[in-house]
């Protein structure tokens, strides 16, 4: 094996370090891009006991989503839960805040309703929760302090009861009245005993009287037998006509159900409903696309000893991980002209080199994975590619650009490469610094820049109102 040169060793270390760094930040980073998956349901709790955003939502111990937001609503905690697609929560399920183990993380537990209780209460409600609906039954975490105070209240009550009992039975008067009660009871039982004796002796007379009453009743029924028969027949007639009426109603509803007649068409034909539904969906899709799109306007000036370069940038972000960059830059070295003038005395030539200030245009398409974004397209009116690495919640951006791969300009033959570090101070101000065109030693220059960068909401609606052919 050939011995590695010093350059190769250093290069290997730098490459290894960078790859490991990239890998670590990717592994640790929690990036969510694109349209968020799943659907959202809400639940309100009296208290969520310090539950945070991004806490897990579990059903039967299996993670089925995350807590997207915790907000206060009418002095109660409202949770917005994002549930994974494909997971269904039965209507009437219960949501509760639980703690994993003794010291573990807090999470939201969904207790599903049992299968036998499934089924919609009314036809317009589905059996499962859908986007934006609210889980009605919630249990807040049991507050240990509250539990203790409740328990001590109960203990107080019991103490009072036992105290009054003691007052009743413990005193001399209590004992005496207890004695009285017992004496009364004894009297009552002796009365009952006497009564039963009497009943035993006079019982035969009572039975005879009851027998007599039964015979009389029998006579009455026999006399009215004919009348009863007529009444029953009338009732039978009435029920038969009711049956006929019901049959014709059933006929009509069957027709409607099959889609016969105007009413039937209206009720049974799905196409109209589908039409309206898809139209509404189309509109909401379009508006939500515009709603989602972020439009960022930036303006910055880079001072590169001694020339300066000014940029105006428009970033269109329909999705956070896919965006377009349009940029106009005033480049002091845009147009290079070299002229040789033969002067007198003949033979001597003067070479004059001039640079003209021109506007350069960049149109780039960018795709982002985690904290790394790749760009390609036109950079300063030449084909080019670029890469951005984001850190500190995107406040810091390290960019490497390469363009103008086939330059013929003398002294600037190599690919134009630019490394820069951008720092966004707040929502408006940004600073950057870097090294421009470092492959061409004659034109290499360090630069520092300052600029403005902000999210423009009005512009996006302006763009949104322009009809876009699909």
């Amino acid at each position: 094996m050939a011995k590695l040169s010093a350059e190769a060793k250093v290069g290997l270390l730098v490459l290894g370090g960078s790859v490991i760094l990239l890998y670590m930040t990717f592994a640790v980073g929690k990036y969510e891009f694109g349209a968020k998956k799943g659907y959202v349901v809400e639940a309100t709790f009296d208290s969520v006991a310090g539950l945070d955003d991004k806490a897990a939502v579990r059903m039967a111990g299996v993670k089925i989503g995350t807590v997207e937001k915790v907000v206060l609503e009418d002095s109660r905690a409202k949770l917005v839960l994002r549930i994974d697609p494909g997971v269904k929560i039965a209507r009437g399920s219960e949501a509760g805040v639980k703690t994993m183990g003794l010291l573990g993380d807090k999470f939201v537990e969904i207790n599903p309703r049992r299968k036998t209780e499934y089924g919609a209460e009314s036809p317009e409600q589905s059996a499962f929760y859908r986007e934006g609906e609210r889980i009605e039954t919630t249990t807040s975490p049991s507050d240990v302090d509250k539990l203790v105070s409740q328990l001590s209240g109960i203990a107080d009550d019991i103490k009072q009861v036992t105290a009054s009992l003691r007052q009743v039975f413990g005193t001399e008067r209590g004992a005496r009245s207890m004695e009285d009660i017992l004496a009364d009871l004894r009297g009552t039982t002796s009365n009952i005993r006497e009564f039963s004796y009497a009943l035993r002796s006079d019982g035969s007379e009572l039975v005879m009287r009851l027998n007599e009453l039964a015979t009389n009743l029998n006579g009455v029924v026999n006399d009215n037998r004919d009348n009863l028969k007529v009444t029953l027949e009338n009732a039978r007639e009435a029920s038969r006509s009711a049956e006929l009426a019901l049959a014709s109603i059933e006929n009509v509803t069957k027709k409607i159900d099959r889609g016969e007649g105007t009413l039937g068409k209206l009720v049974s034909d799905d196409s109209m409903y589908n039409n309206i539904d898809s139209a509404a969906k189309g509109i909401s899709d379009y508006t939500s696309r515009i709603e989602r799109m972020k439009t960022i306007v930036a303006f910055r000036s880079e001072y590169m000893f001694p020339q300066s370069k000014t940029y105006f940038t428009l970033e269109l972000k329909p999705k956070p991980d896919k965006y377009y960059i349009l940029e106009v830059a005033s480049d002091p070295y845009a147009k290079y002209t070299r002229s040789e003038v033969v002067t007198t005395p003949p033979g001597t030539t003067t070479v004059s080199e001039t640079y003209e200030d021109r506007l350069r245009f960049s149109v780039e398409f960018a795709k982002r994975w985690g904290n790394l974004a790749l760009r390609m397209g036109l950079i300063e009116s030449r084909g080019g590619i670029g890469a951005d690495y984001f850190a500190f919640d995107d406040r810091v951006k390290f960019s490497l650009d390469a363009w103008n791969f086939s330059s013929t300009e003398p002294g600037n033959l190599n690919t134009h490469m630019k490394a820069s570090l951008n720092y966004t101070i707040n929502k408006l101000l940004l600073l950057n610094a870097g090294y421009d065109n470092f492959l061409n030693s004659d034109r290499a220059a360090a630069f520092v820049g300052v600029g403005l960068r902000f999210d423009d909401d009005d512009l996006k609606y302006l763009l949104g109102s322009v009809p876009v052919p699909k």
Partner: protein
């Protein structure tokens, strides 16, 4: 009494003067960093000296630290059944604290010392003065490459050290102590943020600059022959190690 006061005063002024000199040295170094000519060959050579040759030392330190950390925290956490948190402890301490500090100390001991000895020998054998006569700025030719190389290389060495330390902790935690690997990784990843890694790396840049600066300063200001070279070397290692530990506290307080 007066003597005692005088002693105190002179010591204080000496320290202040020394600090001022170091700051002036830093400002000069930074100024020469940005102007031509650049000695890329020297920079590359120093990168190899400081960076590549320190890799074994740094990796050994990092991996054993990660392993020991996992082992020790296991004994502690086992007492209240929280073994799953070992991953968190190892990854957080490696990224935020031990990765940059240990790498800094190791590089200070290895490269800082050799820097001071090399420049010190050049000073006492008047090679640095010879450079002046050759119209070469020794600051640019000797100091700037070392300063830049140690700053840049410390960054990459620290990134390597962090990763290897976490891997060592994983090895001990999962393979030796037998905790659940999935839980271990989840706990490590969920409780570590990208900013933790970045803050560690920012520290490492500062420590790299400290090692380069102090090593060069001590070497550049060596006086008095072979003995002076020895003193300069010791001084470079002691001062840069102390500065790393002191700055570590302030950087930690400042960054989070």
């Amino acid at each position: 009494m007066i003597n005692w006061l005088e002693l105190l005063g002179s010591r204080t002024t000496a320290v202040m003067i020394e600090m001022g000199k170091v700051v002036m040295f830093l400002i000069q170094t930074l100024r020469w960093c940005t102007s031509r000519p650049f000695y890329f060959k020297n920079l590359l050579k120093q990168m190899e000296q400081i960076g590549v040759n320190s890799v074994p030392v740094v990796l050994t330190t990092a991996i054993s630290t990660g392993m020991v950390l996992a082992l020790q925290s296991y004994t502690g956490f086992k007492r209240f059944g929280a073994e799953s948190l070992i991953g968190t402890v190892v990854s957080l301490s490696m990224t935020r604290e031990l990765g940059p500090v240990l790498t800094g100390l190791m590089v200070a001991g290895r490269a800082g010392a050799s820097m001071a000895a090399e420049l010190g020998t050049m000073r006492v054998t008047e090679q640095i003065d010879a450079l002046y006569t050759l119209a070469t700025n020794p600051m640019k030719y000797l100091v700037v490459p070392r300063f830049l190389a140690s700053t840049i290389m410390m960054f990459f060495l620290t990134a390597l050290g962090m990763y290897v330390g976490i891997a060592g902790g994983y090895f001990v935690g999962v393979k030796v102590l037998g905790t659940n690997p999935v839980t271990y990784i989840n706990q490590s990843i969920n409780n570590t943020e990208v900013t933790d890694i970045w803050y560690g790396l920012i520290k490492s840049l500062v420590f790299g600059a400290v090692v380069g600066l102090i090593g060069c300063y001590k070497g550049f200001n060596t006086e008095g022959g072979a003995e002076g070279v020895g003193k300069a070397t010791t001084g470079a290692v002691v001062v840069s190690c102390m500065l790393i530990l002191i700055l570590d506290y302030f950087l930690s307080a400042l960054l989070w």
